[in-house]
């Protein structure tokens, strides 16, 4: 310690003039308000901003210069032997000199700030300047100081290593260049990929009143990378002084061996961590943001939060019949209520949008043939640059429509050919649906409920329908202002000719082309959906059980009615054929098992099937639900539409028992 203090003090005393120069430099920001372009800012802000910028530049520059010279220059000029000829441990020489360089750099920064702070104060660390380095989480003065000192230490140790390497100028320089290229490339790629995947987003669970005090996983990783780099540089510098002593070339060899012997494995570990981060299994999901079932077949697309992966929302295409899954990145840019994954009507094709690897701001369209076993996701020529607000897939899975950069654009997926693109100055819609109607038409439905103070507990709603004729390129739009109650959602029929408007107070059948009401299908609590053949399945409940009705989509006229006694919950599963609809039911107690029923439309028979091992997927806190995934399928509650969706495995048998 005595040796360290002696070296430290000597370095400080030898360079005290630097501190005087820093104090003199601190007078410059006082003139900042007089500079052109600054009149908009208050003088104190201009002064403190200029002083802060100058202080940062001065301290970092000084850290660079001193770090690169305090040892390396003495070594190259043969003056380090002065220390080694004294009873000074190598560690004291290294630490004393580099600590002095860091302290001088830090003190110089503070002295640059001093005059401005006397004339109006320094920037508030809890304000904009203070929160900037942490990406939104205010660090406060201690955090900022620690960050600043860490940065200075990093610069000093890196400059020391650089100074030794350059002054040695031996053939080991080639190894250094190769190793630094590999390390920087790996670290940059990993951090960029982690950022692209959402590690830089605060975890859902962490949003809340204290969110501003939290840090993202990416920030923790960045801090870890910086600390590892700092430790490696410090260890390498210390080893260079300790083992190389006054021999510059030998010191360079030792430094290179320690530095790259630490950083290359660390880069490898970071690459391994990134690979692990990007390779979650469905079992790693801890909460679901959305489940999108295929219209046919047993595939479903789902995405949510994975354990220990920050804000990463991995997506999976999951075949619940076989348990096979394919990881896909459609969850990265999907929101809680709007996904970027679409199935074709036959469930054979799926397309999704995922951020580009090298430029995460761009979205690339990827396709997958689900009908072909072993098929892999295939990138297309379609890449979207800009602000995307809607995304739709034609029923045959060949064309894609997007609202991008205030244009409605339709493209052919296999060739990437542009089919149509028209200006579309849409306002932001709370809920937006883009759909392909028959005869080469593309429709965009926009729902914008807003609360009206005149009508208590009611909402006014703007419901707009825009239609693009692909043959003529003509765009027509219509808007309706209506009064609704509660949340509103819009469900289109497979052909897009009809739609169901759900609200808290009413379930309405509407015209798909104009949005005009056709029939009211029920009051409060009524629930309905379209069957694959376009008819409407309407669910109701009375005291004894539940009613399941099939309605004609043209006018809402009832075609079939089934009463299921003792049944509390009825969910439509699928439609194996034109005459059959399969539903799953459950009794009033939430714990009773799910049961499969086959409803014969032509005869009115309800055929009870076996009890099913269905797993219910709660919205959040599902834990390791896929491990409990039933062999028969899943039931998922969609919080946005307030509907439950059931997906059955293809292996679920149809029972032959017939009951009244």
């Amino acid at each position: 310690m005595r040796g360290f203090l002696a070296v430290f003090e000597r370095e400080i005393v030898e360079r005290w003039l630097l501190l005087v120069a820093a104090l003199a430099l601190g007078i410059v920001p006082l003139a900042a308000p007089l500079l052109p372009g600054m009149p908009a800012a208050p003088p104190s802000v201009a002064r403190s901003g200029a002083a802060l910028g100058l202080a940062l530049i001065a301290s970092l520059l000084l850290a660079l210069l001193l770090g690169g010279s305090v040892i390396a220059r003495d070594l190259a000029e043969g003056r380090l032997s002065f220390y080694f000829a004294r009873p000074l441990p190598a560690a004291a020489i290294w630490a004393g000199k580099l600590a002095a360089a860091t302290v001088l750099a830090a003190a110089a920064g503070l002295l640059v700030l001093l005059p401005a702070s006397l004339f109006g104060g320094i920037p508030d660390p809890s304000g904009y300047w203070g929160s900037m380095p942490s990406g939104g989480a205010a660090l406060g003065m201690p955090g900022l100081t620690a960050l600043w000192l860490t940065a200075l230490l990093l610069v000093v140790t890196a400059a020391h290593a650089g100074g030794v390497i350059l002054r040695s100028w031996s053939s080991w320089l080639l190894l250094d260049l190769a190793a630094v290229s590999v390390t920087v490339a790996v670290a940059w790629t990993c951090l960029r990929n982690l950022g692209r995947d959402g590690a830089g987003v605060l975890q859902w669970e962490r949003y809340g009143p204290s969110a501003s005090l939290r840090f993202t996983l990416l920030q923790y990783v960045e801090v870890a990378v910086a600390l590892v780099a700092l430790l490696a540089l410090a260890a390498a510098g210390a080893a260079q002084v300790s083992r190389g002593r006054t021999d510059l070339r030998r010191g360079h060899r030792v430094l290179a061996l320690v530095l790259w012997g630490t950083l290359l494995p660390a880069a490898l570990a970071l690459a391994g961590y990134t690979r692990w981060f990007e390779s979650p299994l469905p079992a790693d999901l801890v909460s679901l943001h959305r489940v999108v079932p295929s219209p046919a077949g047993a595939w479903l697309a789902l995405y949510g939060q994975a354990a220990h992966r920050g804000g990463y929302r991995p997506g999976f295409l999951l075949d619940i019949g076989t348990g096979r899954f394919i990881r896909a990145d459609f969850g990265l840019r999907s929101s809680m209520r709007s996904s970027l994954v679409r199935f074709s009507a036959d469930g054979r094709h799926v397309v999704w949008l995922e951020p580009d690897r090298s430029n995460p701001a761009d979205l690339n369209l990827v396709t997958l043939d689900l009908g072909r076993r072993g098929a892999r996701p295939r990138p297309t020529q379609i890449s979207l640059k800009g602000s995307l607000s809607s995304f739709g897939l034609s029923p045959d899975g060949r064309d894609v429509a997007v609202v991008l950069n205030e244009r409605l654009t339709v493209m052919e997926i296999p060739s990437g050919r542009l089919l149509a693109s028209v200006p579309f100055l849409s306002a932001f819609h709370v809920e937006e649906t883009l759909a392909f109607a028959g005869s080469g038409r593309v429709r965009l439905y926009g729902l914008d409920p807003f609360w009206s103070p005149q009508v208590a507990r009611s909402h006014r709603m703007s419901f707009s329908v825009s239609e693009l004729d692909l043959a003529t390129g003509k765009l027509t739009s219509a808007q309706r202002i209506e009064t609704v109650k509660g949340n509103v959602s819009w469900t289109l029929s497979p052909s897009a000719e009809r739609g169901l408007l759900h609200s808290q107070s009413v379930l309405e059948l509407r015209d798909g082309a104009t949005g005009a009401p056709i029939a009211s299908l029920g009051g409060e609590g009524a629930r309905g959906s379209f069957l694959p053949d376009g008819r409407i399945a309407l669910l109701g409940r009375d005291g004894e059980g539940s009613d399941f009705r099939i309605l004609d989509a043209r006018d809402g006229a009832e075609q079939h009615r089934f009463h299921l006694s003792g049944v509390h919950t009825v969910l439509v599963a699928d439609q194996p054929g034109p005459d059959e609809v399969r539903v799953v039911t459950r009794g009033p107690a939430g714990t009773s098992p799910w049961q499969l029923w086959t409803l014969r439309l032509s005869t009115g028979e309800a055929l009870p099937g076996p009890h099913l091992a269905l797993s219910t997927l709660p919205f959040e806190g599902a834990g390791a639900w896929p491990k409990r995934l039933g062999r028969d399928g899943v039931v998922w509650f969609d919080p946005w539409s307030a509907r439950e969706v059931v997906v059955l495995s293809a292996a679920v048998p149809i029972r032959q028992d017939v009951v009244k």
Binding site: V13, G78, S81, F82, F84, P87, A90, T246
Partner: protein
């Protein structure tokens, strides 16, 4: 007496130093006894400075080991150097610091420090203590280095060509200071030098390095006893000379002059009828005889 106490203050064993392909020191072994003055001689590039760097633990040898005061200098350098004074070949003090500031810095590192001694020596040398080191002459820099090396009251003094580039007066001052130190304290001294006359005045033992190999390591007294210059008046004495195994032979106008490394009057008498003129050699003459010729000199 402990085992450590019986170990010579300087013990070099099989020391080998390489710079890439070049061999700077080749299996050098030597020992310096307590209180002795060892002068290491050698031409430029012979490996003297490499040996001194290894001796001070500044450089790790490719093979072999160096122990100072009974301990391995590479691993225990810092603690050993509390008892070692060092005068480098090129005075390497921080250029902006004055001798007094340097002395103050050094005084914090040693268990004992003769502050008054430093001041007295600086005064004796005529060196100002308040002039930045960079502004001192080369001789003054060396004198400051010597004053600092002696101020720690060292048990061992290592000097790497302390008189290199100094004028005759400065050289004399350095050696007188060393002689005074030796007389006062009996310090063990290791001095690598080109100043053969100076070394001859103080050295008990002499080592000669030639192309990295220690070709001579001997007590000064015996060295001077066994080396003689033989002057034969007649020119044709090849047979007689060959029998004496001279290390150097030179033809002069008046005859032949030879230097023999193992002078033996009886053997000389037996070689022939002519009695040559026999004279003693200075250390410088012995050194030239040993290192001036390309072929190896016999020990």
């Amino acid at each position: 007496m402990s085992a450590i106490d019986s170990t010579p203050p300087i013990l070099v064993e099989g020391l080998t130093v390489r710079y890439g392909e070049r061999l700077a020191l080749d299996s050098v072994s030597l020992a310096v006894a307590e209180g002795a003055v060892y002068a290491l001689l050698g031409r430029n590039g012979a490996g003297k400075s490499s040996l001194v760097r290894c001796l001070l633990g500044e450089q790790r040898p490719a093979a072999g080991r160096v122990s100072l005061l009974g301990r391995d200098v590479w691993t225990k350098r810092a603690s050993i150097l509390t008892q070692v004074g060092v005068v480098p070949e090129e005075p390497d003090m921080p250029p902006a610091m004055t001798p007094r500031q340097i002395a103050r810095f050094c005084s914090r590192l040693y268990p004992s420090w003769d502050k008054a001694g430093v001041e007295a020596r600086l005064k004796r040398f005529g060196v100002s203590g308040d002039v930045p080191f960079a502004r001192l002459s080369k001789g003054q820099k060396g004198q400051v280095a010597l004053a600092l090396a002696l101020a720690s009251v060292p048990r061992l003094l290592v000097l790497d060509d302390p008189t290199l580039g100094l004028d005759a007066v400065a050289r004399k001052t350095v050696f007188e200071e060393l002689i005074g130190e030796l007389a006062d304290r009996g310090t063990t001294v290791f001095i690598a030098t080109h100043d053969l006359a100076g070394a001859e005045r103080i050295a008990d033992r002499v080592g000669v390095l030639r192309q990295g190999r220690l070709v001579l390591d001997e007590e000064m007294e015996t060295l001077k006893l066994r080396f003689r210059r033989l002057s034969f008046p007649a020119a044709e004495r090849e047979v007689q000379l060959a029998a004496l195994a001279p290390v150097a032979v030179a033809s002069r106008g008046w005859g032949v002059e030879a230097v023999v490394a193992r002078y033996d009057p009886e053997r000389l008498a037996a070689t022939g009828p002519d009695e040559p003129e026999v004279s003693t050699l200075t250390l410088e003459e012995i050194f030239i005889a040993l290192t001036g010729e390309p072929e190896e000199a016999g020990r």
